[in-house]
Protein backbone atom coordinates (compact mmCIF):
# COMPACT_ATOMS: atom_id res chain seq x y z
CA UNK A 1 0.00 0.00 0.00
CA UNK A 2 1.38 3.38 -1.02
CA UNK A 3 1.53 5.77 1.87
CA UNK A 4 -0.62 8.92 1.66
CA UNK A 5 -0.90 11.78 4.19
CA UNK A 6 -3.31 11.09 7.03
CA UNK A 7 -6.41 13.22 7.14
CA UNK A 8 -6.44 15.50 10.18
CA UNK A 9 -8.31 18.57 11.33
CA UNK A 10 -5.17 20.68 10.85
CA UNK A 11 -5.08 22.83 7.72
CA UNK A 12 -1.73 21.90 6.15
CA UNK A 13 -2.25 23.78 2.90
CA UNK A 14 0.11 26.59 2.01
CA UNK A 15 0.47 29.56 -0.30
CA UNK A 16 3.81 29.59 -2.08
CA UNK A 17 4.49 32.34 -4.59
CA UNK A 18 1.39 32.07 -6.81
CA UNK A 19 0.77 28.47 -5.81
CA UNK A 20 -1.61 26.87 -3.41
CA UNK A 21 -0.40 23.45 -2.28
CA UNK A 22 -2.25 20.88 -0.20
CA UNK A 23 0.90 19.81 1.63
CA UNK A 24 3.94 21.90 2.61
CA UNK A 25 6.33 18.97 2.04
CA UNK A 26 8.07 18.67 -1.32
CA UNK A 27 10.87 16.46 -2.60
CA UNK A 28 14.35 18.00 -2.96
CA UNK A 29 15.94 18.21 -6.38
CA UNK A 30 18.28 15.29 -7.04
CA UNK A 31 16.85 13.22 -4.19
CA UNK A 32 13.71 11.95 -5.90
CA UNK A 33 14.71 11.64 -9.58
CA UNK A 34 11.45 12.41 -11.43
CA UNK A 35 9.10 10.87 -8.89
CA UNK A 36 8.54 7.51 -10.51
CA UNK A 37 10.65 5.38 -8.18
CA UNK A 38 9.21 7.03 -5.06
CA UNK A 39 5.69 6.45 -6.32
CA UNK A 40 6.19 2.80 -5.42
CA UNK A 41 6.26 3.82 -1.76
CA UNK A 42 4.11 6.97 -1.54
CA UNK A 43 1.38 8.33 -3.76
CA UNK A 44 3.43 11.03 -5.43
CA UNK A 45 0.35 13.11 -6.27
CA UNK A 46 -0.45 13.60 -2.57
CA UNK A 47 2.72 15.45 -1.55
CA UNK A 48 3.10 19.22 -1.94
CA UNK A 49 5.05 18.96 -5.17
CA UNK A 50 7.74 16.91 -6.86
CA UNK A 51 10.90 18.95 -7.39
CA UNK A 52 12.71 17.07 -10.13
CA UNK A 53 16.45 16.44 -10.56
CA UNK A 54 18.12 19.49 -12.14
CA UNK A 55 17.87 19.06 -15.88
CA UNK A 56 20.18 20.63 -18.45
CA UNK A 57 19.85 21.36 -22.15
CA UNK A 58 21.75 18.28 -23.32
CA UNK A 59 22.00 14.72 -21.99
CA UNK A 60 24.72 14.45 -19.42
CA UNK A 61 26.66 11.44 -18.15
CA UNK A 62 27.59 12.98 -14.80
CA UNK A 63 30.85 12.30 -13.02
CA UNK A 64 32.84 9.12 -12.66
CA UNK A 65 32.32 7.01 -9.54
CA UNK A 66 32.84 7.09 -6.58
CA UNK A 67 30.14 9.70 -6.41
CA UNK A 68 29.38 9.57 -2.71
CA UNK A 69 30.80 9.13 0.74
CA UNK A 70 28.85 8.78 3.94
CA UNK A 71 29.69 11.37 6.62
CA UNK A 72 28.53 11.83 10.23
CA UNK A 73 24.75 12.38 9.95
CA UNK A 74 25.04 13.13 6.28
CA UNK A 75 26.72 12.40 3.01
CA UNK A 76 28.92 13.99 0.41
CA UNK A 77 27.82 13.70 -3.21
CA UNK A 78 29.34 14.53 -6.54
CA UNK A 79 26.85 13.23 -9.07
CA UNK A 80 27.66 15.86 -11.68
CA UNK A 81 24.06 16.43 -12.75
CA UNK A 82 23.58 13.18 -14.67
CA UNK A 83 20.42 13.48 -16.70
CA UNK A 84 18.64 12.91 -20.00
CA UNK A 85 18.52 16.53 -21.23
CA UNK A 86 15.42 18.72 -21.33
CA UNK A 87 13.77 17.27 -24.46
CA UNK A 88 13.84 13.70 -23.24
CA UNK A 89 12.81 14.89 -19.76
CA UNK A 90 9.71 16.60 -21.14
CA UNK A 91 8.80 13.69 -23.35
CA UNK A 92 9.17 10.94 -20.74
CA UNK A 93 9.49 12.16 -17.16
CA UNK A 94 7.13 15.11 -17.30
CA UNK A 95 4.59 13.13 -19.28
CA UNK A 96 4.63 10.46 -16.58
CA UNK A 97 4.28 13.01 -13.77
CA UNK A 98 1.35 14.65 -15.55
CA UNK A 99 -0.38 11.37 -16.09
CA UNK A 100 -0.02 10.66 -12.35
CA UNK A 101 -1.55 14.01 -11.49
CA UNK A 102 1.61 15.12 -9.66
CA UNK A 103 2.40 18.78 -9.15
CA UNK A 104 5.81 19.34 -10.65
CA UNK A 105 8.40 21.99 -10.00
CA UNK A 106 11.13 21.51 -12.59
CA UNK A 107 14.67 22.22 -11.44
CA UNK A 108 16.87 23.53 -14.26
CA UNK A 109 20.61 24.07 -14.57
CA UNK A 110 23.03 25.36 -17.18
CA UNK A 111 26.70 25.75 -17.93
CA UNK A 112 26.26 29.41 -18.75
CA UNK A 113 23.65 32.15 -18.49
CA UNK A 114 22.28 31.59 -21.98
CA UNK A 115 21.80 27.87 -21.45
CA UNK A 116 19.55 28.44 -18.44
CA UNK A 117 17.34 30.60 -20.66
CA UNK A 118 17.20 27.93 -23.34
CA UNK A 119 16.16 25.22 -20.90
CA UNK A 120 13.49 27.50 -19.44
CA UNK A 121 12.22 28.35 -22.91
CA UNK A 122 11.68 24.64 -23.62
CA UNK A 123 9.30 24.51 -20.67
CA UNK A 124 7.14 27.36 -21.97
CA UNK A 125 3.57 26.18 -22.57
CA UNK A 126 4.32 22.67 -21.32
CA UNK A 127 1.34 21.61 -19.21
CA UNK A 128 1.81 20.34 -15.68
CA UNK A 129 4.77 22.51 -14.69
CA UNK A 130 3.63 24.54 -11.69
CA UNK A 131 6.97 26.20 -11.06
CA UNK A 132 10.64 26.32 -12.00
CA UNK A 133 13.48 26.03 -9.52
CA UNK A 134 16.66 27.52 -10.91
CA UNK A 135 19.68 25.65 -9.61
CA UNK A 136 22.26 28.43 -9.67
CA UNK A 137 24.44 26.46 -7.31
CA UNK A 138 26.30 24.77 -10.17
CA UNK A 139 29.62 25.98 -11.60
CA UNK A 140 29.66 28.61 -14.31
CA UNK A 141 31.94 27.36 -17.09
CA UNK A 142 32.38 30.85 -18.50
CA UNK A 143 33.57 32.25 -15.22
CA UNK A 144 36.45 29.95 -14.23
CA UNK A 145 34.00 27.45 -12.78
CA UNK A 146 32.81 29.81 -10.08
CA UNK A 147 29.36 28.94 -8.79
CA UNK A 148 26.65 31.36 -10.00
CA UNK A 149 25.01 31.47 -6.58
CA UNK A 150 28.22 32.75 -4.98
CA UNK A 151 28.19 35.98 -6.96
CA UNK A 152 25.21 38.35 -6.75
CA UNK A 153 25.69 39.60 -10.32
CA UNK A 154 26.09 36.19 -11.96
CA UNK A 155 23.12 34.90 -9.96
CA UNK A 156 20.97 37.84 -11.04
CA UNK A 157 22.02 37.40 -14.69
CA UNK A 158 20.77 33.82 -14.65
CA UNK A 159 17.45 34.67 -13.03
CA UNK A 160 16.97 37.60 -15.37
CA UNK A 161 17.56 35.41 -18.38
CA UNK A 162 15.23 32.69 -17.16
CA UNK A 163 12.56 35.26 -16.32
CA UNK A 164 12.65 36.57 -19.90
CA UNK A 165 12.16 33.05 -21.24
CA UNK A 166 9.10 32.03 -19.24
CA UNK A 167 5.63 33.48 -18.93
CA UNK A 168 5.15 36.21 -16.34
CA UNK A 169 2.83 33.98 -14.35
CA UNK A 170 5.32 31.09 -13.98
CA UNK A 171 6.62 30.99 -10.39
CA UNK A 172 10.44 31.03 -10.35
CA UNK A 173 12.44 29.85 -7.37
CA UNK A 174 16.15 30.59 -7.15
CA UNK A 175 18.10 27.91 -5.28
CA UNK A 176 20.80 29.42 -3.13
CA UNK A 177 24.12 28.12 -1.89
CA UNK A 178 25.07 28.53 1.77
CA UNK A 179 28.75 28.89 0.80
CA UNK A 180 28.68 32.68 0.79
CA UNK A 181 29.57 35.39 3.28
CA UNK A 182 26.13 37.00 3.27
CA UNK A 183 23.30 34.91 1.84
CA UNK A 184 20.84 37.83 2.14
CA UNK A 185 22.87 39.78 -0.41
CA UNK A 186 22.41 37.01 -3.01
CA UNK A 187 18.76 36.61 -2.01
CA UNK A 188 18.02 40.30 -2.56
CA UNK A 189 19.87 40.28 -5.86
CA UNK A 190 17.91 37.35 -7.36
CA UNK A 191 14.58 38.67 -6.08
CA UNK A 192 15.31 41.97 -7.79
CA UNK A 193 16.13 40.04 -10.98
CA UNK A 194 12.72 38.40 -10.99
CA UNK A 195 12.70 35.39 -8.67
CA UNK A 196 9.27 34.86 -7.06
CA UNK A 197 10.70 32.70 -4.30
CA UNK A 198 13.86 31.15 -2.89
CA UNK A 199 14.93 27.56 -2.27
CA UNK A 200 17.27 27.48 0.68
CA UNK A 201 19.73 25.68 0.84
CA UNK A 202 21.72 23.65 -1.62
CA UNK A 203 24.57 21.47 -0.33
CA UNK A 204 27.73 22.81 1.33
CA UNK A 205 31.02 22.18 -0.44
CA UNK A 206 32.99 19.51 1.37
CA UNK A 207 35.70 16.89 1.05
CA UNK A 208 36.35 13.44 2.49
CA UNK A 209 39.81 11.89 2.32
CA UNK A 210 40.31 8.15 2.31
CA UNK A 211 42.89 7.49 5.02
CA UNK A 212 44.12 4.32 3.31
CA UNK A 213 44.92 5.91 -0.05
CA UNK A 214 45.31 9.44 1.38
CA UNK A 215 43.33 10.69 -1.63
CA UNK A 216 39.93 12.39 -1.84
CA UNK A 217 37.15 9.80 -1.70
CA UNK A 218 35.05 11.27 -4.54
CA UNK A 219 36.20 11.21 -8.16
CA UNK A 220 35.39 14.92 -8.35
CA UNK A 221 37.51 15.43 -5.20
CA UNK A 222 35.03 17.89 -3.63
CA UNK A 223 31.29 17.27 -3.28
CA UNK A 224 28.12 18.61 -1.74
CA UNK A 225 27.41 17.92 1.93
CA UNK A 226 23.79 17.20 2.83
CA UNK A 227 21.70 15.55 5.52
CA UNK A 228 20.99 16.30 9.20
CA UNK A 229 24.60 17.48 9.68
CA UNK A 230 23.82 20.69 7.76
CA UNK A 231 20.44 21.46 9.34
CA UNK A 232 21.55 24.26 11.70
CA UNK A 233 23.26 26.01 8.79
CA UNK A 234 20.11 25.73 6.70
CA UNK A 235 17.81 26.97 9.48
CA UNK A 236 20.13 29.94 10.00
CA UNK A 237 20.04 30.77 6.27
CA UNK A 238 16.24 30.65 6.16
CA UNK A 239 16.04 32.81 9.29
CA UNK A 240 18.43 35.45 7.91
CA UNK A 241 16.64 35.64 4.58
CA UNK A 242 13.23 35.90 6.23
CA UNK A 243 14.52 38.77 8.33
CA UNK A 244 15.91 40.57 5.28
CA UNK A 245 12.93 39.84 3.01
CA UNK A 246 9.80 39.55 5.19
CA UNK A 247 7.48 38.61 2.31
CA UNK A 248 9.49 36.40 -0.02
CA UNK A 249 8.20 32.82 -0.36
CA UNK A 250 10.84 30.36 0.90
CA UNK A 251 11.20 26.61 0.35
CA UNK A 252 13.43 25.53 3.25
CA UNK A 253 15.62 22.45 3.15
CA UNK A 254 18.77 20.90 4.52
CA UNK A 255 18.77 17.87 6.78
CA UNK A 256 15.06 17.55 7.45
CA UNK A 257 14.49 14.09 8.88
CA UNK A 258 11.37 14.46 11.02
CA UNK A 259 8.32 16.65 11.43
CA UNK A 260 10.05 18.37 14.30
CA UNK A 261 12.93 19.32 12.00
CA UNK A 262 10.46 20.75 9.47
CA UNK A 263 8.82 22.80 12.23
CA UNK A 264 12.18 24.49 12.84
CA UNK A 265 12.21 25.62 9.21
CA UNK A 266 8.62 26.89 9.31
CA UNK A 267 9.32 28.86 12.46
CA UNK A 268 12.48 30.28 10.86
CA UNK A 269 10.40 31.54 7.94
CA UNK A 270 9.96 28.72 5.41
CA UNK A 271 6.57 28.50 3.68
CA UNK A 272 7.30 24.98 2.44
CA UNK A 273 10.05 22.41 2.94
CA UNK A 274 11.91 19.94 0.76
CA UNK A 275 13.09 16.59 2.11
CA UNK A 276 16.25 15.37 0.37
CA UNK A 277 18.84 12.99 1.77
CA UNK A 278 16.38 11.54 4.30
CA UNK A 279 14.47 9.98 1.40
CA UNK A 280 17.46 7.64 0.88
CA UNK A 281 16.93 6.41 4.43
CA UNK A 282 13.14 6.42 4.31
CA UNK A 283 11.45 6.38 0.90
CA UNK A 284 8.20 7.36 2.63
CA UNK A 285 9.77 10.41 4.29
CA UNK A 286 7.84 13.13 2.43
CA UNK A 287 4.51 11.76 3.62
CA UNK A 288 5.82 10.85 7.07
CA UNK A 289 7.17 14.37 7.67
CA UNK A 290 3.80 15.81 6.61
CA UNK A 291 2.00 13.56 9.10
CA UNK A 292 4.43 14.36 11.89
CA UNK A 293 4.09 18.12 11.36
CA UNK A 294 0.29 17.80 11.45
CA UNK A 295 0.54 15.83 14.69
CA UNK A 296 2.82 18.41 16.31
CA UNK A 297 0.41 21.22 15.36
CA UNK A 298 -2.53 19.25 16.67
CA UNK A 299 -0.70 18.60 19.95
CA UNK A 300 -0.07 22.33 20.25
CA UNK A 301 -3.78 22.93 19.78
CA UNK A 302 -3.23 24.77 16.50
CA UNK A 303 -5.57 24.61 13.55
CA UNK A 304 -3.28 25.51 10.70
CA UNK A 305 0.33 25.38 9.63
CA UNK A 306 0.15 29.09 8.80
CA UNK A 307 0.11 29.81 12.54
CA UNK A 308 3.73 28.75 13.06
CA UNK A 309 5.31 30.19 9.92
CA UNK A 310 7.76 32.95 10.94
CA UNK A 311 7.14 32.21 14.63
CA UNK A 312 10.84 32.59 15.45
CA UNK A 313 10.66 36.21 14.30
CA UNK A 314 8.88 37.98 17.11
CA UNK A 315 8.79 41.23 15.15
CA UNK A 316 6.97 39.59 12.23
CA UNK A 317 4.03 38.05 14.09
Amino acid sequence: MKRVPKRTSVDMSIELAKLRLESPVLTASGCAAAGKELDQFIDISTIGAVVTKSVMLEPRSGRATPRMAETPSGMLNGIGLQGPGIDDFIEKDLAWLNQKGAKTIVSIAGNNVEEFGKVADKLRDIPGVIGIEVNISCPNVENRGQVFACDPYAAADVINNVRRNVSASMPLFAKLSPDVTDITEIAKSVVKAGADGLSVINTLLGMVIDTDTLLPRLSGKTGGLSGPAIRPVAVRCVYQIRKALPNIPIIGMGGIRSGRDAVEFFAAGANAVSVGTTVFNDPEACVRVHDEVAQILQDKGLRSLAEIINAAHEELI
Partner: protein, 284 residues
Protein backbone atom coordinates in the same frame (compact mmCIF):
# COMPACT_ATOMS: atom_id res chain seq x y z
CA UNK B 1 6.65 -3.62 -5.64
CA UNK B 2 9.21 -3.02 -2.90
CA UNK B 3 8.01 -2.17 0.60
CA UNK B 4 9.48 -0.52 3.68
CA UNK B 5 9.27 -3.04 6.49
CA UNK B 6 9.88 -2.40 10.16
CA UNK B 7 10.84 -5.90 11.13
CA UNK B 8 12.63 -7.81 13.84
CA UNK B 9 15.61 -10.11 13.84
CA UNK B 10 14.57 -13.74 14.11
CA UNK B 11 18.07 -15.18 14.12
CA UNK B 12 21.66 -14.08 13.49
CA UNK B 13 24.26 -16.81 13.41
CA UNK B 14 27.95 -16.86 12.63
CA UNK B 15 28.92 -19.01 9.65
CA UNK B 16 32.64 -18.93 8.90
CA UNK B 17 33.59 -15.28 8.49
CA UNK B 18 29.97 -14.29 7.93
CA UNK B 19 26.69 -13.83 9.75
CA UNK B 20 23.44 -15.18 8.37
CA UNK B 21 20.69 -12.88 9.59
CA UNK B 22 17.02 -13.81 9.34
CA UNK B 23 14.53 -10.96 9.62
CA UNK B 24 10.77 -10.70 9.42
CA UNK B 25 9.86 -9.21 6.08
CA UNK B 26 6.06 -9.28 5.70
CA UNK B 27 5.17 -9.70 2.01
CA UNK B 28 8.69 -9.35 0.61
CA UNK B 29 9.08 -13.11 -0.01
CA UNK B 30 5.97 -13.11 -2.22
CA UNK B 31 7.48 -10.43 -4.45
CA UNK B 32 10.97 -11.91 -4.40
CA UNK B 33 12.81 -13.19 -7.45
CA UNK B 34 16.38 -14.55 -7.43
CA UNK B 35 18.89 -11.70 -7.73
CA UNK B 36 16.85 -9.17 -5.75
CA UNK B 37 18.43 -7.37 -2.82
CA UNK B 38 17.30 -5.50 0.29
CA UNK B 39 18.48 -2.13 1.62
CA UNK B 40 18.87 -2.29 5.38
CA UNK B 41 18.84 0.74 7.69
CA UNK B 42 21.68 1.03 10.18
CA UNK B 43 20.26 1.94 13.57
CA UNK B 44 16.98 3.69 14.31
CA UNK B 45 15.59 6.98 13.03
CA UNK B 46 18.11 8.87 15.16
CA UNK B 47 21.14 6.98 13.85
CA UNK B 48 23.96 9.11 12.45
CA UNK B 49 24.54 6.52 9.72
CA UNK B 50 21.75 7.59 7.43
CA UNK B 51 22.46 5.52 4.33
CA UNK B 52 21.03 2.04 3.99
CA UNK B 53 23.32 -0.89 3.17
CA UNK B 54 22.56 -3.25 0.31
CA UNK B 55 22.51 -7.04 0.79
CA UNK B 56 21.63 -9.77 -1.66
CA UNK B 57 18.66 -11.79 -0.56
CA UNK B 58 20.01 -15.23 0.31
CA UNK B 59 16.82 -17.07 1.22
CA UNK B 60 13.15 -16.25 1.65
CA UNK B 61 10.39 -17.99 3.50
CA UNK B 62 6.87 -16.76 2.93
CA UNK B 63 5.04 -18.96 5.41
CA UNK B 64 7.22 -19.43 8.46
CA UNK B 65 6.20 -19.17 12.11
CA UNK B 66 7.05 -15.46 11.83
CA UNK B 67 5.19 -14.84 8.58
CA UNK B 68 7.45 -13.83 5.72
CA UNK B 69 11.18 -13.74 6.43
CA UNK B 70 14.34 -13.02 4.44
CA UNK B 71 17.89 -14.16 5.10
CA UNK B 72 20.94 -12.08 4.27
CA UNK B 73 24.65 -12.88 4.56
CA UNK B 74 26.76 -10.22 6.26
CA UNK B 75 30.49 -9.81 5.91
CA UNK B 76 31.40 -7.49 8.80
CA UNK B 77 34.11 -4.99 7.85
CA UNK B 78 32.78 -1.48 8.51
CA UNK B 79 30.39 0.46 10.73
CA UNK B 80 27.19 -0.69 9.00
CA UNK B 81 28.04 -4.34 8.55
CA UNK B 82 29.49 -4.52 12.10
CA UNK B 83 26.25 -3.10 13.46
CA UNK B 84 24.19 -5.71 11.64
CA UNK B 85 26.50 -8.56 12.66
CA UNK B 86 25.91 -7.58 16.29
CA UNK B 87 22.12 -7.59 16.12
CA UNK B 88 20.42 -10.14 18.35
CA UNK B 89 17.15 -12.00 18.16
CA UNK B 90 14.15 -9.64 18.61
CA UNK B 91 16.18 -6.51 17.80
CA UNK B 92 14.46 -4.10 15.42
CA UNK B 93 15.60 -4.03 11.79
CA UNK B 94 14.24 -1.91 8.96
CA UNK B 95 14.36 -3.31 5.42
CA UNK B 96 13.40 -1.97 2.02
CA UNK B 97 12.88 -4.57 -0.66
CA UNK B 98 12.81 -6.56 -2.76
CA UNK B 99 14.96 -4.25 -4.91
CA UNK B 100 16.76 -4.50 -8.24
CA UNK B 101 16.11 -6.47 -11.39
CA UNK B 102 16.20 -10.22 -10.86
CA UNK B 103 18.50 -12.51 -12.86
CA UNK B 104 17.05 -13.38 -16.27
CA UNK B 105 16.39 -17.07 -16.61
CA UNK B 106 16.97 -19.00 -19.85
CA UNK B 107 13.83 -19.99 -21.75
CA UNK B 108 15.12 -23.48 -22.47
CA UNK B 109 16.49 -26.02 -19.98
CA UNK B 110 20.16 -25.34 -20.76
CA UNK B 111 23.17 -26.12 -18.52
CA UNK B 112 24.22 -23.21 -16.30
CA UNK B 113 27.38 -22.55 -14.28
CA UNK B 114 26.97 -20.45 -11.13
CA UNK B 115 30.10 -18.71 -9.85
CA UNK B 116 30.17 -17.14 -6.39
CA UNK B 117 33.06 -15.23 -4.86
CA UNK B 118 32.94 -15.04 -1.05
CA UNK B 119 29.56 -13.76 0.19
CA UNK B 120 28.77 -13.15 -3.49
CA UNK B 121 27.46 -16.72 -3.46
CA UNK B 122 24.45 -15.53 -1.41
CA UNK B 123 21.99 -14.81 -4.27
CA UNK B 124 22.95 -17.92 -6.25
CA UNK B 125 21.13 -20.57 -4.21
CA UNK B 126 17.60 -19.38 -4.90
CA UNK B 127 18.73 -18.91 -8.50
CA UNK B 128 19.93 -22.53 -8.60
CA UNK B 129 16.53 -23.67 -7.36
CA UNK B 130 14.72 -21.64 -10.01
CA UNK B 131 17.01 -23.01 -12.72
CA UNK B 132 16.63 -26.58 -11.50
CA UNK B 133 12.86 -26.16 -11.49
CA UNK B 134 13.15 -25.30 -15.20
CA UNK B 135 15.13 -28.44 -15.86
CA UNK B 136 18.51 -26.71 -16.18
CA UNK B 137 21.65 -28.57 -15.13
CA UNK B 138 23.46 -26.47 -12.49
CA UNK B 139 27.19 -26.60 -11.78
CA UNK B 140 28.62 -24.50 -8.97
CA UNK B 141 32.00 -22.87 -8.51
CA UNK B 142 32.67 -21.20 -5.18
CA UNK B 143 35.83 -19.24 -4.58
CA UNK B 144 37.38 -17.07 -1.93
CA UNK B 145 40.77 -15.88 -0.75
CA UNK B 146 40.74 -18.43 2.07
CA UNK B 147 38.54 -21.19 3.50
CA UNK B 148 36.67 -19.09 6.12
CA UNK B 149 35.52 -16.75 3.38
CA UNK B 150 33.81 -19.45 1.34
CA UNK B 151 30.07 -19.40 1.70
CA UNK B 152 27.43 -22.09 1.17
CA UNK B 153 29.50 -25.15 0.26
CA UNK B 154 27.10 -27.74 1.69
CA UNK B 155 24.12 -26.15 0.09
CA UNK B 156 25.86 -25.72 -3.25
CA UNK B 157 26.79 -29.41 -3.24
CA UNK B 158 23.19 -30.35 -2.47
CA UNK B 159 21.62 -28.46 -5.37
CA UNK B 160 24.23 -28.83 -8.09
CA UNK B 161 25.51 -31.52 -10.40
CA UNK B 162 29.11 -30.65 -9.53
CA UNK B 163 30.72 -28.26 -7.07
CA UNK B 164 34.22 -26.91 -7.62
CA UNK B 165 35.92 -24.94 -4.85
CA UNK B 166 38.91 -22.65 -5.22
CA UNK B 167 40.87 -20.64 -2.66
CA UNK B 168 43.75 -18.27 -3.34
CA UNK B 169 45.79 -19.84 -0.53
CA UNK B 170 44.77 -23.44 -1.15
CA UNK B 171 43.15 -23.88 2.30
CA UNK B 172 40.15 -25.48 0.60
CA UNK B 173 39.60 -27.00 -2.84
CA UNK B 174 41.89 -26.10 -5.73
CA UNK B 175 44.47 -23.44 -5.13
CA UNK B 176 43.79 -20.51 -7.44
CA UNK B 177 40.87 -18.45 -8.63
CA UNK B 178 37.40 -19.32 -9.89
CA UNK B 179 38.39 -18.48 -13.44
CA UNK B 180 41.17 -21.09 -13.30
CA UNK B 181 38.48 -23.72 -12.80
CA UNK B 182 35.79 -22.21 -15.01
CA UNK B 183 36.88 -23.37 -18.53
CA UNK B 184 36.94 -27.01 -17.40
CA UNK B 185 33.47 -26.76 -15.80
CA UNK B 186 32.09 -25.08 -18.91
CA UNK B 187 33.49 -27.87 -21.04
CA UNK B 188 32.23 -30.73 -18.84
CA UNK B 189 28.75 -29.31 -18.37
CA UNK B 190 28.45 -27.93 -21.89
CA UNK B 191 27.27 -24.70 -20.26
CA UNK B 192 25.19 -22.17 -22.15
CA UNK B 193 24.91 -19.53 -19.43
CA UNK B 194 27.17 -18.38 -16.60
CA UNK B 195 25.84 -16.50 -13.61
CA UNK B 196 28.32 -14.76 -11.34
CA UNK B 197 28.28 -12.64 -8.22
CA UNK B 198 31.31 -11.48 -6.28
CA UNK B 199 34.05 -8.85 -6.40
CA UNK B 200 34.16 -6.69 -9.55
CA UNK B 201 37.56 -8.07 -10.64
CA UNK B 202 36.18 -11.60 -10.45
CA UNK B 203 33.11 -10.63 -12.47
CA UNK B 204 35.29 -9.07 -15.14
CA UNK B 205 37.41 -12.21 -15.36
CA UNK B 206 34.33 -14.46 -15.52
CA UNK B 207 32.75 -12.29 -18.23
CA UNK B 208 35.97 -12.57 -20.25
CA UNK B 209 36.00 -16.36 -20.00
CA UNK B 210 32.34 -16.48 -21.03
CA UNK B 211 33.04 -14.21 -24.00
CA UNK B 212 35.97 -16.38 -25.06
CA UNK B 213 33.70 -19.41 -25.01
CA UNK B 214 30.98 -17.51 -26.86
CA UNK B 215 28.44 -18.04 -24.09
CA UNK B 216 26.17 -15.67 -22.21
CA UNK B 217 27.09 -14.39 -18.76
CA UNK B 218 25.07 -12.53 -16.17
CA UNK B 219 27.14 -10.70 -13.62
CA UNK B 220 25.65 -9.22 -10.46
CA UNK B 221 27.72 -6.12 -9.70
CA UNK B 222 28.43 -4.40 -6.42
CA UNK B 223 28.58 -0.61 -6.69
CA UNK B 224 28.45 1.79 -3.79
CA UNK B 225 24.81 2.79 -3.24
CA UNK B 226 23.26 5.67 -1.34
CA UNK B 227 19.54 4.97 -1.88
CA UNK B 228 19.17 1.53 -3.50
CA UNK B 229 15.86 2.60 -5.06
CA UNK B 230 16.97 4.57 -8.10
CA UNK B 231 16.66 8.18 -6.99
CA UNK B 232 20.22 9.35 -6.24
CA UNK B 233 22.42 8.32 -9.22
CA UNK B 234 25.43 7.23 -7.15
CA UNK B 235 25.55 3.58 -8.21
CA UNK B 236 26.21 3.96 -11.94
CA UNK B 237 28.54 2.11 -14.28
CA UNK B 238 29.08 2.21 -18.05
CA UNK B 239 26.81 -0.29 -19.81
CA UNK B 240 26.49 -0.82 -23.55
CA UNK B 241 22.85 -0.69 -24.64
CA UNK B 242 21.13 -2.76 -27.31
CA UNK B 243 21.63 0.23 -29.62
CA UNK B 244 25.40 0.01 -29.07
CA UNK B 245 25.50 3.25 -27.06
CA UNK B 246 27.19 3.31 -23.67
CA UNK B 247 25.19 4.88 -20.87
CA UNK B 248 25.84 5.35 -17.16
CA UNK B 249 23.16 3.04 -15.77
CA UNK B 250 22.05 2.67 -12.16
CA UNK B 251 23.05 -0.71 -10.80
CA UNK B 252 20.24 -0.58 -8.20
CA UNK B 253 17.37 -0.46 -10.70
CA UNK B 254 18.86 -1.43 -14.07
CA UNK B 255 20.92 -4.13 -12.29
CA UNK B 256 22.49 -5.41 -10.15
CA UNK B 257 22.72 -8.20 -12.74
CA UNK B 258 23.96 -7.11 -16.16
CA UNK B 259 25.01 -9.16 -19.16
CA UNK B 260 28.76 -9.62 -18.77
CA UNK B 261 29.53 -8.53 -22.34
CA UNK B 262 27.59 -5.28 -21.88
CA UNK B 263 29.63 -3.97 -18.95
CA UNK B 264 32.63 -1.78 -19.91
CA UNK B 265 34.75 -3.46 -17.23
CA UNK B 266 37.96 -1.57 -17.97
CA UNK B 267 36.02 1.71 -17.68
CA UNK B 268 34.16 1.09 -14.41
CA UNK B 269 34.90 4.11 -12.22
CA UNK B 270 35.37 6.27 -15.32
CA UNK B 271 33.20 7.94 -17.91
CA UNK B 272 34.20 6.45 -21.28
CA UNK B 273 34.54 9.33 -23.75
CA UNK B 274 31.87 7.84 -26.04
CA UNK B 275 29.27 7.64 -23.23
CA UNK B 276 25.89 9.24 -23.88
CA UNK B 277 26.24 12.79 -22.51
CA UNK B 278 29.96 12.48 -21.70
CA UNK B 279 31.77 15.76 -21.03
CA UNK B 280 32.92 17.53 -24.15
CA UNK B 281 36.38 19.13 -24.13
CA UNK B 282 36.14 22.60 -22.60
CA UNK B 283 32.66 22.08 -21.16
CA UNK B 284 31.74 20.75 -17.68
Amino acid sequence: MPIVHKGTVVDNKKVGNYFVLTATAADMPKEFKPGNFVAVAIGDERSSLILRRAFSIYQVNDRGVYGGTVDIVISPHGPGTDYLANLKRNDAINLVGPLGKPFSLPKDPVPCVLVGGGYGAAPLFTLAEALTARGCRVDFILGASTQEKLFGMLEARRISTTLTVTTDDGTSGQMGQVTDALPEVIKKSNAAVIYACGPMKMLEAVANVANMHGIVSQTSVEESMACGIGVCMTCVLPIIGDDGITRMLRSCVDGPAFKGDKVRWDQVGKIPSDTWGAPVEGVN
